[in-house]
C-alpha cells in the first residue's frame, strides 16, 4: 500500500475546499510531499467533477440537468441564472463571485428542479426564487 496515494484524494479535496481550485503550485507541493509524479496527481484531479484545476468563483452554482430535473423544466432555472449573473454554464463572473456549471443528478429528484451552491442544496426551485437565493451569496 502506498500511503501517499491513499492520502491523495483526501488532500486534493482539502485543497479544493481551502483555495477553491487546485493550482499548479498546490499540486506540485503535493507531488513533493507524497512522492507522487505530477502527472498522476493531475490525472486524479481531472477525473472528478468536483475538483477543478482552474480557478472558480467564490460561489459555485451547479444546476442539475439530469432526467428528473429535466422533466421539471430545469432549463427555465438555467435561463434565469444565466440572466441574473450574466454568464453561461462553464463560465466564471469577472468579479470572481460566481461560477456556473451544469451537473449530473444530485439526488434531490423528489424536489426537482434542484441546484447546489457550494455545498448547499436548493430544491423545488422556481424562477422567482432564484434572485433571492443569489442575493444571499457573498
Amino acid at each position: 500500500m502506498n500511503n501517499g496515494q491513499e492520502e491523495l484524494l483526501l488532500l486534493l479535496q482539502k485543497a479544493q475546499n481551502e483555495f477553491g481550485y487546485l493550482s499548479e503550485e498546490s499540486v506540485a507541493e503535493l507531488a513533493k510531499s507524497l512522492a507522487l509524479p505530477i502527472s498522476d496527481i493531475y490525472g486524479v484531479a481531472t477525473f472528478y467533477s468536483f475538483l477543478s484545476t482552474k480557478p472558480l468563483g467564490r460561489n459555485v452554482i451547479r444546476i442539475c440537468k439530469s432526467m428528473p430535473c429535466y422533466l421539471k423544466n430545469c432549463q427555465i432555472i438555467i435561463d434565469t441564472v444565466e440572466k441574473e449573473i450574466g454568464i453561461k454554464p462553464g463560465e466564471t463572473t469577472p468579479d470572481g463571485k460566481f461560477s456556473f456549471q451544469l451537473t449530473n443528478c444530485i439526488g434531490a429528484c423528489d424536489k426537482a428542479p434542484a441546484m447546489m451552491i457550494n455545498s448547499d442544496v436548493y430544491d423545488d426551485l422556481t424562477p422567482g426564487k432564484i434572485s433571492e437565493i443569489l442575493k444571499a451569496c457573498k
Partner: protein, 398 residues
C-alpha cells in the same frame, strides 16, 4: 398493497442525532445477539438463509458474499458501505442516511464481526452533506462501546457516477482515479488494497439487524421466490407525489407509480435510472422483483407528452459524461450513440442507424469492462423494442 417497512422502520421515528432514541427501538440488540450468541459462521449462514440479495442493482446474494470474505485468507479485511448513490433518479439512500444512520452503523459492525474485519468505510457521494450527522452518529456509537473491535471511516466522493461501481469505488478510496478493475479477482477475495473486502449498498445493510433479530425464516416469508424482503424505491418525474416508498418485493409497478405516487396518463416508466429498463404503460402490471425488473430502485415516470428518443438521448449523454474512459467499447461507444441519437432528435436519422445502434449496443453489453458500459445500451434496446416507430419517424427522407 400498502407499504411494508423494514428498511425504513426507524425513519421519522427516531432522532438521528440521538443514539438513545435508537436504543429504545431495539438498537444494537442484533449486534449484541451476534457477538454473544452466534459464531461468525452462524451470522453468515443466517444471512444466506434469509435470501437477502444486494440492493445496489446487481442483486448478488449478500450472505454468499460475506461467506466468501469470511473464508478468504487475509491479515486485514474491510467492510465498505456503498453510499455513492449516483444513479439518476435515486435518493433513497440520502433519505435513509438523513433519518437513521444508526441502523447502518450497527449493520456494518455486524458485518465486521461476521467476516473478521476491523475496519469499515462508508463511501459517501460528494453531493450528500451528511458527513457531520454520520460522523456524530459514529462518535455516539463509539462512546456507547459498540465499536470496540471495528471502526468506521467516512470517505467522500468527488463527483463521479462510476465510483458507485464497486471496483471503481475501491480505487477511489485508494486515492486513485475511480476506474473499473477487471474481475476476477472479486472483492471478497482481493478487494481494497488487495485484501478481502465486502461492499454493500446502504439499503442492503439496513436489512441486516432485523434479519439477525427476527431470524432468516421471518425474512424469507416476505417477497417472492427469488426476491426476499422489501425494496425501497425513489419515485420522480411526472407524478403528483414523488418520494421514497418501501414495498414488499413482487409488488406491481402500477401500485407504486399510480396508487402511491399518483401518476396519471403514464406513457412509460424507466426502472433503474439512466441504465434502467424502459417499461411501456401496457406493462405497468410487471412485478418489481429480481426475476423481472428492479435495479437500484430509481423509478422515473414519463407521461404522454414525453418523447422517448429525447429521453434515451439524455440518458446516453449522462453515461457518456460519466464513463471512466478506461475500456474502449464504453468510452467510444457511448460517444457514438450520443452522436446518432442527437441526429434522431433533430429528425436527421439515417436508415442504417437503427442497425448500427443495435450492433453497438450488443458489443458494449458483451465486452465492456464494468457494469456501466454493459448496462448503458439497455434504454436504447428497450426503446427500439417498444417504441421503434418513434425512431423510424425521424429518419430523414432522401
Amino acid at each position: 398493497m400498502p407499504q411494508k417497512l423494514i428498511v425504513l422502520r426507524n425513519c421519522g421515528v427516531i432522532n438521528p442525532k440521538d443514539i438513545t432514541t435508537y436504543l429504545d427501538r431495539d438498537g444494537f440488540k442484533a449486534f449484541k445477539k451476534a457477538i454473544d450468541e452466534l459464531t461468525c459462521e452462524q451470522v453468515t449462514e443466517e444471512i444466506k438463509a434469509s435470501g437477502l440479495r444486494g440492493r445496489g442493482g446487481a442483486g448478488f446474494p449478500c450472505g454468499l458474499k460475506w461467506d466468501l470474505a469470511r473464508k478468504a485468507q487475509g491479515d486485514e479485511k474491510y467492510v465498505i458501505c456503498n453510499a455513492d448513490e449516483g444513479e439518476v433518479g435515486t435518493f433513497k439512500d440520502r433519505y435513509i442516511l438523513e433519518r437513521d444512520p444508526f441502523t447502518l452503523i450497527e449493520a456494518m459492525a455486524i458485518a465486521g464481526y461476521a467476516i473478521g474485519a476491523k475496519k469499515g468505510y462508508i463511501y459517501l457521494r460528494a453531493e450528500y452533506h451528511h458527513l457531520d450527522l454520520l460522523t456524530d452518529a459514529i462518535k455516539q456509537t463509539r462512546e456507547k462501546g459498540f465499536l470496540e473491535h471495528f471502526d468506521i471511516n467516512i470517505r467522500e466522493g468527488a463527483g463521479s457516477y462510476v465510483c458507485g461501481e464497486e471496483t471503481a469505488l475501491m480505487d477511489s478510496i485508494e486515492g486513485k482515479r475511480g476506474e473499473a478493475r477487471y474481475k476476477p479477482p472479486f472483492p471478497p477475495s482481493r478487494g481494497l488494497w488487495e485484501k478481502p473486502t465486502i461492499i454493500n449498498n446502504v439499503e442492503t445493510l439496513m436489512n441486516i439487524p432485523q434479519i439477525i433479530l427476527n431470524g432468516a425464516h421471518w425474512f424469507n416469508q416476505i417477497g417472492t421466490d427469488q426476491s426476499k424482503g422489501t425494496k425501497v424505491f425513489s419515485v420522480s418525474g411526472d407524478v403528483k407525489k414523488p418520494g421514497v416508498y418501501e414495498l414488499e418485493l413482487g409488488s406491481r409497478l402500477k401500485e407504486l407509480v399510480e396508487d402511491l405516487a399518483l401518476a396519471e396518463k403514464v406513457k412509460m416508466v424507466q426502472v433503474g435510472g439512466a441504465t434502467g429498463k424502459i417499461i411501456p404503460y401496457e406493462m405497468i402490471d410487471t412485478p418489481l422483483a429480481f426475476e423481472s425488473i428492479l435495479g437500484a430502485g430509481a423509478v422515473t415516470v414519463f407521461d404522454e407528452t414525453r418523447d422517448i428518443v429525447d429521453v434515451v438521448y439524455r440518458s446516453m449523454e449522462f453515461l457518456a459524461e460519466e464513463s471512466c474512459g478506461k475500456c474502449a467499447p464504453c468510452r467510444e461507444g457511448t460517444e457514438v450513440i450520443v452522436e446518432i441519437l442527437e441526429r434522431f432528435c433533430r429528425g436527421e436519422g439515417l436508415e442504417e442507424d437503427i442497425e448500427v445502434l443495435q450492433r453497438l449496443a450488443s458489443a458494449m453489453m458483451l465486452s465492456s469492462l464494468c457494469g456501466l458500459g454493459q448496462a448503458a445500451p439497455i434504454p436504447v434496446i428497450d426503446s427500439l423494442q417498444y417504441f421503434r416507430s418513434a425512431y423510424e419517424n425521424r429518419i430523414q427522407k432522401n
